[in-house]
Every structure is written in structure tokens, then in C-alpha cells.
Symmetry: C2
Subunit: 517 residues, 2 copies
């Protein structure tokens, strides 16, 4: 496997799964040429005039779509760890004797451990998409036939739009759908809120199959997926386990350290002047981030400040802010709990967004860079503010990128992280895997100090006089190394065997993940 | 000009404005090959990170878009006869000294008479789009430099999607927009309800300019036009005259003959069994159609029947049905009055549709063929049920196609027309211009009789025993010829000079319009 050093001094293969790659060129340097992917032109003459595209079974739909060896099949992850459809899909593909599928999920979860046997027996050749948990471990150990390709949510849309990944068949789990193929995630027994991760799939795949466990008469509205892009509709008993689709129990952290971090982040919003009338922010659904949202809300109420918009993933905490008039809009990409799903259905100000609107970098701008501040996590951050979200310090690939890379483009990117986890430092000299270039990370807030990227002189100035424990990243690093009894051991990997690659938002190769030995 | 006879025995040119044409092949026969048009790939690196795409003036935006001679510029007609933006646009283009523009509006109105001077001086080479009134007359007299091309709403989307018409610059009048380019028609002082006619333009044009007289902070929601497709945003004082954008006064006819037709149509719905629980229909905004909606509503209430959906253009009469619970949804393509605009903003069941969802024939089905029955008008219908909506019997091109051709695909297409107008028969031996093939027209309802297309044996059977005055089309024809003192004189035209062509929904040439002499 031939590797080259890219502009971030990271070794990346020149070819992945037989396709030539472009190494990362630096921030904002690589500019795409040419035109977007173009789906085949269809004719209404080939579809039922009454709009009824229901076929008897998923197997029939796959046959009708012309499934054959080596095809690319896509799925979405809005059902999260409650998804049973994808496992069922590959059971059928196996039964049909089909081999060497490129599986292109928007993410995979522990529930997809079921698919390891199909990775082993050659039904699935490799996965392009986030691999959370068991599939990541399997890949890290060098057991997958092809090389995994990890992309951000925006990068996934970009790769479809640009024709980098051609989807032969998209299988779209749809909590509610009509016989024409209009589909929504905001209602039905398997409601998951949104279906935005499947938007690009529905627009560009050669063949689109909507699978639902709640078929309603035309029109299914909202049509998060448009029936005009759909070839077949399949009805099954159940898409998954509702309790695992939306947990219903996203809760703030109880850890005193994490609560302290959350408080610091909220204070940073106030002291930096980011929290002002009409501002905007995004925070995830982790316990620290939820605690931050609660603290921020109190500060906003105390000062009579209203946001213009909050970016989801939504939770009951954000829904409360919307319903209490503390923001005009939630611009949501996925709903993390039942309150998010309800609000999506009921509130006009709770708006359906997608990787196209929010994250696609090969676009005429996107929402992510308009956001005033974003609060994110990381598995590691280094002295140059470079960050990692996919591997642990032992080299294992255990997490996906999600929208993380895309969110780095906000006007102020804050990593809210503990300085160590399980006695392993999170602040390191050099990240195991580079997922976010340091020039895009503005602030690192830990329980033992807040470090501002020296590039952000404006923020350093604004924070003069703040009571926050402002330190250099090196100071925090040294403290935590001492506390943990040294830096983490470098992972034991085989540098000749790239098991997965990390794409940057523009489709170039930012880093490689190596086989753990 | 070389002409050939197409499958409907109509003479059509082999070439139009230098481009080779496909003659109409018959119903559902021509199948497109190849892939859709593909817009250039862009990069966020080339757009302002803060999302602010506002430029100083429309002239600046046109310069930035690289406007030059011979380009195609598109506009939409949601501002109807109140549009002042398009005239202003061409004043600037003239001032810039640009020549030979192909103007690609979704329709033109009498207010665009202002542009005749630009057609004369070579600023505009020709118009592709509906030409209502003065521009149609100008074209009919052979005065336009190029050949006019008339398409249905669905055909316009199809032509853009299929790459038949490449739009260089789309200029989108937007009653409300944000600096990122998200735009909506449902609010603002120039509110027109929807912007669906500009959807294809926003998706496929090389350069998209949003022009607004109501700039709001990001996000403008709903985003009927998505800012991710927009290059520049321009703020001007006024897009047009609100009183002419939506009349606010669409009213039912007072003519006893038209009221009788409307009553017959409503009775046809009842007697044929079309009016049943969960049915659907579409009717336009003409006085007869509005009267029909009123009669139908009474019948539905009397029988306790609820529709699943009604297709707009919407008016206060349809809004009343929605708000009184007589339908689950209005699937709307354009709002014809202020009540339609209000309802669009307020009612979740009043749904924004577009030529993509409703009418595009080169798609995986569309909404039009799912509709149980549609009530349409016509300028002429002949003994073979062929119909005309664009020319009068004197040969003058005075109307556009609109969604008319697309609606013919409903399960039951009803033409509700007077048998004569101004003592000129509407039922003729052969239509002046073929716009709708007779095999798609099921019923013709006039004040002196209802004719069912002999192909629809099922309808003939269902109507046995109805008190409607069922007659053959020939019987009605003969009555009206006698009444009017003979068939209309054949138009005096120069068969060597095609001034405009009529496209079928699949992009083939259905008929020609000849120079009136």
C-alpha cells in the first residue's frame, strides 16, 4: 500500500479500494472541478399512474432494482441503535447469494454487530460510513476485506453529490410513508424525527426503496423524502425497537467535573459576548452539553436574551427553550429524544434540516459557518489544537465523525472535554488520528482550565478580565500528564496496513487509521 | 423551415432556434435516454462564511454572474400581472448593452408588454414560456426574432432537469428572503404564496440571484427556495404591485350559463361516484370552476363526505373547505387570492408543492395522475376530444399552457366549457392548435350537454340513469354550429412561418403556431 504525506503531515494511501485519492491540501485550498452527479432520466410511463409503488417484499424490491454482486447499498442511521431493518436487509442479500456489497450507511451502531458474519463471509466487502463500537473494533483489527472510509455528515452528502460515491440502491427506513413513496420520520410507531441523512441517497441513487411499518394514504406529509425520487415501497411489521430509536432519557451529567466544564462553557458564552440578542449556537446531546444548555438557558433568562436559532440534534432541553420563547427556531438535523420528535411534529419553529442545507462543503455556503458558536467533544486534542473524534489513544476506531467536522466551521468552535478519561490524558502531544485541523478549533474548555487558540487574538482580548481559569493548552497538558503519571503509550499499529481513512469535508484524505496489533 | 408530420398528424419543425427537435411520437411512447443535467460543483470556500450574500444592486449581481450576449435568463410568474421586477431586470440588461437573451419565464403577463421594445431592438432574442396577451399577439404576427417555445409547468421543469434548457442566470423574485438566499413567497408586502415555479431554476441554473423587498435575518423560513442554491441576494424597494400579485377578488361567475355548467360538473362528480370518502380533485380559479367548488362543497356536506386532498391553485373557496374539515390537505402550486396566501402561512394542511412533485413527466411518477378528477377549461375542443388552450380560432396565440397538459393525466379529466363564446363555437371539427391529445380528455361538459369520450366505457356505464343531459360530442357540435350560423372561419396563417411551438410533457413537439396574416 503506497502512502504519501499530506499537507497536515499525515500518511495517507494514494489509492483506496481501487480508487485514486486526493491527499488533504490544507484548509480551503482544494477546489472541485466539473459537474455534479446526474441521476438517470426516468419517465412516468414506467411507473404506476395511480401512484401505488408498493411491492410485496423487500426481496422483490431488491430484485426489481436489479441487485447484483459488487453494488453499493446505502442506509441511514436515524433509527440509531434500534435499527432492525438493516440487519434484515443483509439477511435477504445473503439469502440471495449476493457478494461484495459496498455498504454505505450514514453511520453504524452496536446493533449492527449482526453484520460481522457478512463481512467475514464476503457478502459485504467493506463499509463506508461511521463505525461505532463493534464494527469499528473489527475493522481496527484488520479483519475487513476493503478499507473503511469515514466521512462527516456533510462529506457524505458531498461524496454523493460529486459522484465520488455512486449509490446503486438506497434502502430508506421510513417510520411513515404513503404508497407513492413520500416518507417522514416524525410520526408512526418507529418515529425517529427526521430523515435528512437519507436525503442525498433519495436524490442521487439509481434505485430508491422506501421501507415502512406505517403505510398511510397519499399524501404522507411532511414528505421529508419525496416520492418522486422513489422506485418502490415495501411494508414490513417493524423497523426497529422504539425504545432504542429515541432513548427518551437523554439527561444532564451528574459528574461534578463535567458539570464544572458545562458551567465554564456557559460562562465563556457570556464573558466572550457571544451570548447576545439574536445569537445562535449548537451543542450536542452528551451529558456535558445538555448541562451547558441548562446553564446557558438560565443566563439567557436572567439577561433577557433571545437566540435567533439553535442548531439541533434536539433534546427536551432545546425544545423547552423554543417553547419558552428563548429562540425563534431550532434548525434540527436529528432528534435525540421523544420530546424532540413531538416538537418536530407540532412546532412550526422546529425546522427540518439536512446535510445538504447544513453541512455540504461543496455548496454555495452552508448553515454551519453561520452559527455563532458550537460546543463539541473529542477523544483527544493536541498541543496544536488538532483534534480526534474517531480513535482512542490505543488506536482503536470506535466512533464516527458525524457532523463534527462540519461544525468546526462555526464562528467559534469550543471543545468541552475532560482533561483525562479513565486516567488517560485527553490532552496529548499529538493526536492519534487527525480529524479536525487545529486552525478550526478556537477554544478547549476542561475542568482544569480554558485554553484559547493563539490564532484567536480577538477571543483572547475579549476574555481579558474574565474569571475563567484561562491557561495555555501546554499548561493544561503538563498538569494532566503529571496527574495521570505520564502521556498515554503510543498505540501498537501496523503502519503498512491502513484499515480505514478519514476524509476531510472536501473529499480529500486527511488521515489514516492503521491496523492495531 | 422544414416541417414534418408527427404522430398526431400535426406539422412541426425539425429544428427550433437552431436546435434539433423530436416530433411527438404518441401517448407514452417516447422514452428519454441518458442522465439529468448536472450543475457545476461549488465550494463553500468561494462564498462568504457568515452567509451574507447580499450585493449592492441587481446590476452588480448580473455582472458578478458574468452576464453576456446570448445567455438564457429565467424568471417566474408568481407575481402575475403585478410583476415589476422582470421589466426592471430587462431595463438593466438593455442599459448594459447586452443582446440576444433567451428569456425563459414560467409565464409572461400583460404587464410585460414593456418588453416588446426589447424584443424589437434585439435585447431579447426570443421567449420560451407562456405568452399571455400582448406578447402572444406580437409573436403571432411574426415579429419575434426567434421561435417561441411553449411548455406546460411540468414540461418546463422537465426541460431544465433533462438539460434541454440550460439556464445561465435565474432571477428569482422573492417576497421574503434572508442574506443567505433562503426565500419564501408566503409573507412580505409582495407576498404571492408560493415560489414553486422557480424551484427548478434554483436547482439547475449556473447562477441564481434572489431579489427581495423584504430582507429578514437568517433563517428565512419556510425556505421555498434554498439559500444553498443561491449565489447573490439583492434588496430592492418593491417587487411589484400587491393588488395585482394576488387579486384578492377571485369570485364565482354570475353568468347563468356558466353556473349551469358548474352545476353539471358537480352533479357529474356525484353521479359518476367520483365524489366518495377520501377522493381528490383539482379545479382552477376561473369563475366557472369556483362555482363548481361551491356546489361540490354543498354536496359533500350534505352527504358527509370528506376529500383526502384538493389540488390548488388555491382560493378562499378551497381554504374554507380545508378549514371546515372537508379535506385533509390542499396540495397547492400557486395561491390565487389573499386567503390562499394566509392559509399557506397558517395551515399545516395547506402544503407547498412544485412542478417537480406535481407535474414533471420525466420522474418516478407525479401527483397529477393520482388525482381522481380534474376540471379544466379550453379555447377549443374538437370531435376527437382533442383540445386547445393557447390559440383562438382566429389563430392568435393569447394564452399559456400552465399546468393544463399535466393535469390531463388525472383519472378523470373534465373540460367545463361553454359551447360557444362571442358567437364563435368552442366545439369545432378540428382544433386550431393541438395542446391536449383527445385520448386524455374524458368528459366535455357544456351548458347544452355532457359528452363522454367513447374510450371511457366505464364512465358511460356509471352515468346510465343520470339526469345529466348526456350527448355525443357531435350532437353538441351540430347544435352549436347551427346556433352560431356555421363553424368558425379557418384562421389566415402563413404555413411557411412557424412563430411558436407547443411541447408535449415529454419534450417532443406536439404542434406549431403559425404566423397570422
Amino acid at each position: 500500500m503506497k502512502l504519501v504525506k499530506n499537507a497536515a503531515s499525515r500518511l495517507v494511501p494514494v489509492e483506496v479500494n481501487g480508487e485514486k485519492q486526493i491527499p488533504y491540501k490544507g484548509f480551503g485550498i482544494y477546489k472541485p472541478k466539473g459537474r455534479m452527479a446526474a441521476p438517470p432520466i426516468r419517465s412516468c410511463a414506467d411507473y404506476p399512474a395511480d401512484g401505488n409503488k408498493v411491492v410485496k417484499s423487500l426481496k422483490d424490491a431488491l430484485k426489481k432494482a436489479g441487485l447484483k454482486d459488487g453494488m453499493t447499498i446505502s442506509t441511514h442511521h436515524h433509527l440509531r441503535n434500534g435499527d432492525v431493518l438493516t440487519n434484515y436487509l443483509f439477511d435477504i442479500i445473503k439469502e440471495m447469494g449476493i457478494k461484495n456489497i459496498r455498504w454505505f450507511p450514514s453511520a453504524s451502531f452496536p446493533c449492527h454487530q449482526h453484520l460481522i458474519k457478512y463481512l467475514e463471509d464476503g457478502t459485504i466487502h467493506h463499509i463506508e460510513g461511521s463505525m461505532n463500537g463493534p464494527l469499528g473494533r473489527f475493522t481496527s483489527e484488520g479483519k475487513m476485506k476493503g478499507i473503511g472510509v469515514l466521512r462527516s455528515h456533510g462529506g457524505r452528502y458531498q461524496s454523493i453529490q460529486d459522484g465520488e460515491v455512486h449509490i446503486d440502491i438506497a434502502v430508506i427506513a421510513s417510520p411513515t410513508a404513503d404508497p407513492f413513496g413520500n416518507a417522514t420520520g416524525d410520526r408512526g410507531k418507529s418515529a425517529c424525527g427526521l430523515l435528512g441523512f437519507a436525503l442525498g441517497d433519495s436524490e442521487y441513487a439509481d434505485n430508491v426503496i422506501v421501507v415502512t411499518d406505517n403505510l398511510v394514504p397519499f399524501p404522507c406529509y411532511p414528505w421529508q423524502i419525496q416520492g418522486n425520487n422513489v422506485d418502490s415501497v415495501v411494508q414490513i411489521d417493524s423497523l426497529g425497537d422504539p425504545a432504542k430509536i429515541v432513548s427518551g432519557t437523554t439527561e444532564v451529567t451528574k459528574s461534578p467535573d463535567r458539570l464544572l466544564i458545562a458551567e465554564y462553557v456557559a460562562q465563556f458564552f457570556e464573558d466572550s459576548g457571544i451570548m447576545k440578542e439574536g445569537f445562535s449556537f449548537q451543542a450536542g446531546a452528551g451529558g456535558t452539553n445538555l448541562a451547558f444548555a441548562v446553564y446557558l438557558k438560565e443566563k439567557m433568562k436572567a439577561r433577557g436574551i433571545k437566540a435567533r436559532f439553535i442548531r439541533g440534534g434536539s433534546t427536551k432541553y432545546l425544545v423547552e427553550m423554543l417553547e419558552e420563547g428563548l429562540t425563534d427556531y431550532i434548525l434540527d438535523g436529528q432528534t435525540f429524544d421523544l420530546e424532540g420528535v413531538r416538537s418536530m411534529r407540532e412546532n412550526l419553529g422546529h425546522v427540518n434540516t439536512s446535510p445538504f442545507t447544513s453541512y455540504n462543503y461543496h455548496s454555495k455556503g452552508n448553515f454551519a459557518s453561520i452559527v455563532d458558536a458550537v460546543v463539541l467533544g473529542a477523544t483527544e486534542v493536541d498541543l496544536n489544537f488538532n483534534a480526534n473524534v474517531v480513535t482512542h489513544s490505543d488506536g482503536y476506531l470506535l466512533h464516527g465523525i458525524g457532523g463534527w467536522q462540519n461544525c468546526l466551521f462555526s464562528k467559534c468552535t469550543i471543545l468541552a472535554i475532560p482533561s483525562f478519561r479513565d486516567r488517560i490524558p485527553v490532552i496529548v502531544d499529538e493526536v492519534t488520528t487527525l480529524v479536525g485541523p487545529g486552525e478550526l478549533i478556537d477554544v478547549v474548555i476542561t475542568e482544569r482550565g480554558t485554553a484559547i487558540n493563539p490564532r484567536r487574538k480577538d477571543l483572547i482580548k475579549a476574555l481579558k478580565g474574565s474569571s475563567l481559569p484561562i491557561k495555555s493548552i501546554r499548561e493544561i497538558y503538563e498538569e494532566v500528564i503529571e496527574l495521570c503519571g505520564g502521556a498515554p503509550a503510543k498505540p501498537k499499529v501496523n503502519k503498512d496496513n491502513v484499515v480505514a481513512v478519514i476524509k476531510w469535508v472536501d473529499g480529500t484524505l486527511l488521515d489514516s487509521v492503521f491496523q492495531v496489533i
